[in-house]
């Protein structure tokens, strides 16, 4: 057989290189959705698995540190990969990243990672630190264009003021989000003047939108932050692994602001109520004083009344004596009053209670 004109003859190695160059030119990156099978980890570093559907199967290769979410056989995933022909002639996908696809796979991946991190103690209650009662300097990691961020800033401003708020603008969904958030966490942790809290917020979204917050390195960065963390992602019903790793979990970005600072309107109400409550106390003290005065006054009055009664009683007694001593009283009892010289022949006057008698003394004799 003759060599065709203009047909190059490759060495095997060259063919593989040219083939890979052509592949790279045509498909610099592909995203493929399929089901995982034959998943295995070699030497704790290299991951091999197949991604398949009803019509075919392709081998995949990646390193352990590229695997940000756990996967296992049977899970539906999407891989972002570079197609490659290996030096042994086997077609393979060199996977750059992988993420679960579909509700079931996302949930499964979530549960696997949750169990792994829980076993390591990343979510343990004893690791949780308290947030300052009223922080003066906080860091916020969010997308400044997101509604959740706007809600947080508004409620924070409504409730409290005087806080220095440093904001790191990052993507809060998509493949790039976890790394951006990790860089922002590291940035704040390296500041000379550390914020008192790092607040990571994102509004609601689909399970896929929120999956960035179930990224293993991000969850570890939150758990490892030397600055206490407050995470408010999604709606009340959403639970992310970032929530579980945070020192404090908020159900929403608005709730994060509510947890972070007190409500100044409530404090003003409480302060005014406190002051208003003093007036009844003063009135009560006045009443008590008045009652004490009344009691003293009553006692004094009683003493005076008793003294007066005693004097009246004494007067009555004297009056009785006087009445008894009244000559008319004596005359009324049948006695008579004699006036004049008591000598024989003298004229005397005898007064009884009802008559006055003129009489002459006939004799006087001693008893």
């Amino acid at each position: 057989m003759e060599k065709s004109q203009n047909q190059p003859i490759f060495s095997v190695s060259d063919f593989i290189a040219v083939f890979n160059q052509t592949l790279e030119y045509a498909y610099p990156n592909v995203e493929i959705e399929g089901e995982v099978s034959s998943f295995k980890v070699n030497q704790g570093k290299f991951i091999f698995f197949d991604i398949k559907d009803k019509g075919g199967s392709v081998g995949c290769f990646m390193t352990v540190w590229q695997m940000r979410v756990p996967i296992e056989d049977g899970m539906k995933i999407i891989v972002s990969a570079v197609p490659k022909l290996t030096q042994w002639g086997k077609f393979s996908l060199t996977v750059k990243s992988v993420w679960p696809s579909g509700e079931g796979a996302i949930k499964k991946s979530f549960e696997l990672l949750k169990l792994k991190l829980e076993t390591e103690g990343l979510f343990a209650p004893e690791r949780k630190r308290q947030l300052p009662v009223i922080p003066e300097h906080i860091a916020v990691i969010s997308s400044t264009q997101a509604a959740g961020y706007a809600d947080f800033i508004k409620i924070l401003g409504d409730r409290w003021g005087g806080i220095k708020v440093d904001v790191a603008h990052v993507q809060v969904q998509g493949e790039a989000a976890p790394d951006q958030i990790i860089r922002a966490i590291n940035y704040f942790n390296q500041q000379e003047l550390l914020p008192e809290v790092i607040v990571i917020i994102r509004g609601g979204g689909s399970a896929d939108d929120l999956s960035a917050f179930n990224d293993e390195p991000l969850v570890r960065a939150i758990a490892g932050s030397r600055i206490p963390t407050l995470v408010g992602v999604g709606h009340e019903i959403d639970e992310s692994l970032a929530d579980l790793a945070a020192d404090v979990r908020a159900s929403t970005p608005s709730n994060a602001a509510q947890i972070l600072v007190p409500d100044r309107a409530e404090i003003i109400r409480a302060v005014n109520t406190q002051v208003k409550s003093l007036l009844p106390r003063v009135l009560q003290a006045i009443n008590q004083q008045k009652q004490a005065i009344d009691v003293t006054l009553s006692a004094v009055l009683e003493t005076i009344e008793m003294a007066i009664d005693e004097k009246i009683r004494q007067l009555k007694s004297l009056k009785n004596v006087l009445v008894q001593l009244n000559p008319k009283t004596v005359l009324a009892r049948g006695y008579a009053l004699i006036r004049g010289d008591i000598k024989v022949g003298a004229m005397i006057e005898i007064e009884t209670s009802n008559v006055i008698i003129g009489a002459e003394v006939k004799n006087v004799s001693k008893r």
Binding site: T144, G161, H169, A176, R183, I268, R281, A285, Q289
Partner: protein
């Protein structure tokens, strides 16, 4: 330190102490009116301070889309 120089927290502590005086053994009716006025002024001051506080929001210049 004058009332103007005190922080909200210091003023709140002072108000709490004043309120406590009304419940304590040192309470004297003769001094109550002055103390009440003092508490009223402090409460008004705290309210004014709280309402005037604004947050200072600053977007950091650092970009986080790459390691640089």
């Amino acid at each position: 330190m004058s009332v103007k120089d005190k922080t909200i927290q210091e003023k709140t502590i002072e108000l709490t102490k004043l309120v406590g005086w009304f419940d304590g053994d040192d309470f004297k009716l003769e001094a109550a009116l002055d103390k009440f006025k003092e508490a009223e002024d402090l409460a008004a001051d705290i309210e004014k301070d709280l309402l005037s506080l604004k947050n200072e929001i600053q977007i950091v210049k650092q970009k986080f889309d790459s390691d640089n």
